[in-house]
Structures are given as C-alpha cells and as structure tokens.
C-alpha cells in the first residue's frame, strides 16, 4: 500500500462501505419480506402447521435431519418427505421408532398422540409446498 493511503482513509472507507451495504441489505430484506407470503403459501399456514412446527422444534428434529437443506446431515432431508413418502408412511415410521436394528442409526420414540402426528404431517406438507427454486434436485432430497 502506498504512502498516500493512510489508516484514516482506510477507516473512513470502512464506515462508508459498511453503512452502504447494511442499508442495501436492509432494503433487500424488506423487499423479500413482501414476497415471502406468496412464495411460502402463507395462506395455507393453518394452526395445525404452527403446532407441527412447534413439535418439530421441541423434539430437536434438526439435530439429525435437514429441512430445506439446513440442519444435521445424519438423517434424511424432510423438506420433501411428504411427497417422497406420503402422510401415512410418515406417521407409521415415527410410531415404529426406534428400529433397534444392530449397528444402524436410531431415531428416538417420541410417544406422539394421533393429533400430534397429524400436526407434524401438516407441517411437513406445508413445508413441501414452499417455493424452493426447484431444490432438491431429485426426490431423494
């Protein structure tokens, strides 16, 4: 760096550059907020979906699974599991855990009620409907 460029100039560029990009980011986020209802089909966000999300969170599902590609990479992607497996399979699968197959990865038994299982399925169904720009590339997630 040349002698003419002082640390004070560098500092001013830092403040100006940061302020500019913070504002630009905020503007983009505000615009994105207006698009989320349509892209996520917020009209279909029923109380059952909200309850299902709460179950998803309080059982720490994200600690093993990914949801729209985010989470842990130990168990299958569930953003499109509704399409891949269907509602009945999902419920039967959760009820059948753990498999106790020796050496295989195990999912805990959560002792959900039928109503809770329905809520979870509603949540996964709604999530499956989010416009994810065609991700994942195929049904396997």
């Amino acid at each position: 760096m040349s002698q003419g460029f002082t640390s004070q100039m560098a500092r001013n560029i830092f403040y100006g550059g940061t302020a500019f990009f913070v504002l630009l980011f905020a503007a983009l986020i505000l615009h994105t907020e207006t698009k989320i209802p349509e892209r996520s089909k917020a009209g279909d966000l029923t109380p059952a979906v909200v309850r299902g999300k709460h179950l998803w969170e309080t059982r720490n599902c994200i600690g093993c699974h990914t949801l729209l590609g985010e989470g842990a990479y130990f168990a299958p992607e569930l953003g499109n599991v509704y399409q891949r497996r269907g509602p009945d399979f999902i419920k039967a699968w959760i009820k059948a855990q753990p498999t106790h197959a020796p050496g295989r990865r195990q999912m805990p038994q959560f002792n959900f009620t039928e109503a809770q299982l329905d809520d979870l399925v509603e949540f996964l169904k709604w999530t499956n409907g989010v416009n994810t720009e065609k991700w994942p590339p195929n049904i396997e997630g």
Binding site: T6, L24, E57, I62, F74, A75, Q106, G141
Partner: protein
C-alpha cells in the same frame, strides 16, 4: 500476588476465561469424536446419548468456548490498548461465574432431561426459541447470554472510554457489540418457517461471516503488534482494509444461504456474486500476517504465538475462503446444499478462523498471565507440535468429509432417475467416515498435547535464557 509481567493487573481476569475456554474445548472434541463414531456405528450410546443431543452439545460447546475466548481476549487486550485498568475487574469475575454456571447447567440439561421436557420446563411455550440449529439453548440461557454480554460490553466500553482509543480496541468493540446485537435475532422465531430461516441466518451468518471477523481481525492485529513490533499505522491500515472487505462481501454474502429456503430467486445472483468475493478478506488476512512477520522489528521470545497467528491466517483462508468458495455459487450449491461438503467447510472454517485465533491469543497472553514473557523453549516446542498435529488431523477430517460429500452428491443428488436414497448413500460413505474418525482421534491427541504444554518446564540449560527473556522490553 502481583504479576510484574502484566502492564495492568486487571488483565489477570483473562486467565479464568482462557482456562474455561480450553476446558470446554476439550469437551467439544470428546463429543465430536462421539458423533464421528455414531456416523459409523449408528446405535452407539443410543438411547442414552442420541446423535441430536451429542451434536447439540458439540456445537453449543464450540460457541460457548469461543465466546469465553473472545471475552478473555477482550479483558486482556482492552486495558493494554486503553492504557488503563479495567473498569471493573469484579464485574468481569462475577460474569465469568454466571456464564460458566449457566453454560454448565444448559449442557447438563441437554444430557439429562428429554429436550421436549426441557423446553416445557424453561418457558419455551411462552416464547418459542428452541429447537433451531445452534440456537437450541433454553430461554433462560438465552436471556443469561444477553445479560452477560451487556455486562461485559459495559465493562470494556467504559474502559475504552476512559482510556486511549486505538483502532484495535475500536474494531474489537464494534465486533463485540455487533455480536451481541445480532444475537437478539435468536428471539425472533416466526411461525412461517421461511421467515424463521431468514432471520436465523441473521445470527448465524452475520456472526461468523460478519461481526466475528472484526473480532478475529482485532485479535490477530493485537498479537501481531505485540510479537512483531511493526508500526501501528501500518497494522491499523491493514486491519481497516481487511474488515472493510469482510463486511462489504459478507453482508450481502448472506444471500448464499437464501438460495433454496423459499426466498426470491434474485438472492442466487446477490449471494453468488458477493460470497464469491468472501475469500478476499481472508486472503488479505494471510498477506497481512506474512507481511508483518517479514517486516518484524523484534524477535519475540514467544515464537509459538507467532505460529498460531500465521496458522489462523492461512487455515482461515483455506477453510472459510477456499472451502467456502467451492460450494458457494448457486448452480454448485444446488447439488452440495446440506451435504457432507457443507460439514467439511464448517469444520475447517471454524478451526482456521476462530479456534486458531483464540489459541493464538491464549498462546500469547497465557505466559504473561503466568508471570513470564514466553514459555520455556521445550514447552513452546510441544505447543508448536500440537499445532501441526491438530491442523494435519483437521486436514484429514476435512478431506474425508469432502470425499464423502462428493460421493454423496454423485450418488444421491446428480442422477435424475434412479438416484440412491439418503440412507443407502450413507452406507457407501463408510470408508470416508472411518477416515474422519481417525482424523478426530488425531485431533484429540493434538489437543491433549497442547494442554500438556502448559505443564512443561524449562530444561536446566534454559534457565539463563528465560531470565534473558524476562528483560525483553514490551512494545
């Protein structure tokens, strides 16, 4: 006991923070090893410690020990930079115990109480914040973090206000305030998953690819000022250039997380363009470290600290820069998103950028906190070996995870028809996962070696050297 090596006696509070950080780091690695084994022996420790619990402990311990490291670093750096005693050493000690006890209770809660029960017990039904990756902490813990952070920021801000204001302390302060500010988004959990995910990244991305880079830059600059004796004007200039590049690329770089989670398509352009530039600040950091070491005006007796500092600049660039770049462009990320490639990047980036910068600071400060300029040569030699053992082991892990990721993408993501299922694919990755475990074992050995270096004394012929070191003038 008065410590003649410290310029300001209140810097001594940093020692507590550094010891806690290293203790929690060790816990993190033990749980990491457990996770690595669970990838190959699926039912290991089930149902006692299911994978999701072990992972939560692993990642939360990482965050907490890095925070301890940052706070310890700030308590050490700020008095020296401000040329005044810490505003309140007592507050620093009280907050240390509050944070340690809260952290320990949280980890015990994860391990001993079913997560759903823990959520119910801690008021998650009043304000649901739990069960989101890295933000799994119960509400009281999150509130505790805010209280500790505010107390801590008050303490160091007051110290800076009453003393000399340097670029290093201002950048550190901005980074720490930014960290605390962005953490407030952990209380935002909209019922719409898409919005939830968007604001979740405000904490996660704008921490590690935003505010934390300011903290890292300030810590690195401090260690380099002290160990190389290069003029502050030069170092300040570098520091501001680096953090400008970090925020200019990193803020809009958030877009690389917005490709496939339900947000508008334009984020693919914004995210790709700006995150493709994110390696630049890390590259600048590497140039910075090498440049300063080359232009050094003194031979600091603590050569181990210099190694960690250069190490963080280089491996930070590889992990955050290079391994970030390989999957950041949206057409690539379409296939790599949420695969083992992501895990590979996460490990190398955190290790290179944040683990190593905290160790660099500990390595520089701990001898001073123990009353000497630098550790005996034998201890430094063990420390430097531990750097190589940990770094090579991490390299093995990351290459194994990258290999696993590439194969996973090939089998599960690329085929348009007849793609392999997730679990069937995992069976094909076992070879890579075993190598990863081997890397993990090596890493633990490296860490134990590092910890042992604290107990290595001087060889008998070194006693005179050490006395000479004591007389080296501090910069």
């Amino acid at each position: 006991m008065p410590n003649a090596t410290l310029k300001y006696s209140s810097q001594a509070v940093a020692k507590l923070y550094f010891i806690a950080a290293l203790g929690l780091f060790t816990g993190q690695i033990i749980f990491g090893l457990t996770l690595g084994l669970q990838y190959v022996i699926g039912d290991l420790f089930f149902p006692l410690i299911p994978f999701n619990i072990a992972r939560m402990v692993h990642t939360n311990l990482l965050i907490v020990w890095l925070l301890f490291g940052f706070m310890g670093a700030a308590y050490y750096m700020i008095p020296e930079e401000s040329e005044t005693e810490l505003y309140s050493p007592l507050l620093a000690k009280v907050l240390f115990w509050v944070f340690l006890v809260a952290g320990a209770l949280t980890i015990l809660g994860y391990l001993l109480v079913p997560y759903a029960t823990l959520a119910e017990m801690t008021g998650n039904d009043l304000l649901a914040t739990m069960g989101r990756e890295f933000l799994e902490q119960p509400l009281p813990t999150k509130l505790g973090i805010v209280v500790v952070a505010l107390g801590f920021l008050f303490n160091i801000s007051m110290t800076v206000l009453k003393g000399r204001k340097t670029s290093v302390s201002l950048v550190l302060l901005m980074g720490l305030w930014g960290l605390a500010l962005m953490f407030l988004f952990s209380f935002v959990n909209p019922s719409n998953l898409v919005r939830d995910k968007m604001y979740w990244w405000f904490v996660v991305h704008l921490w590690v690819e935003g505010t934390w880079e300011l903290i890292m830059g300030a810590m690195l600059a401090f260690v380099l000022v002290k160990t190389t004796g290069v003029d502050r004007e030069v170092i300040d200039k570098w520091l501001y250039v680096i953090i400008t590049l970090a925020l200019v690329t990193g803020i809009l770089g958030t877009g690389h997380h917005f490709y496939f989670i339900g947000l508008p398509g334009y984020w693919q352009w914004v995210g790709s363009v700006f995150s493709a530039l994110e390696p630049i600040p890390f590259f600048a950091m590497t140039m910075f470290a090498f440049n300063m070491v080359q232009r050094r005006r003194r031979e600091h007796p603590n050569q181990a600290a210099v190694l960690w500092a250069v190490g963080t600049a280089v491996i930070g660039f590889l992990g955050a820069g290079l391994w970030g770049f390989i999957h950041t462009l949206s057409p690539v990320n379409y296939y790599t998103h949420g695969s083992q490639v992501t895990a590979a990047h996460g490990h190398l980036a955190f290790y290179g950028a944040y683990v190593l910068v905290v160790i660099a600071m500990i390595s520089y400060a701990m001898p001073m906190l123990r009353g000497r300029q630098a550790n005996p040569r034998r201890a430094q030699s063990v420390e430097m070996w531990s750097f190589w053992v940990m770094s090579v082991s991490m390299g093995v892990m990351v290459l194994a995870l990258t290999g696993a990721g590439v194969l996973q993408i090939w089998l599960q993501r690329m085929p348009t028809t007849g793609a392999m299922s997730f679990m069937a694919t995992q069976d094909q990755l076992v070879f890579f996962y075993w190598i990863r475990v081997a890397g993990g074992v090596g890493f633990l050995l490296g860490l134990l070696m590092y910890l042992s270096s604290f107990f290595v004394g001087a060889a008998s012929h070194e006693q005179t050297d050490t006395a000479a070191n004591m007389r080296v003038r501090q910069v």
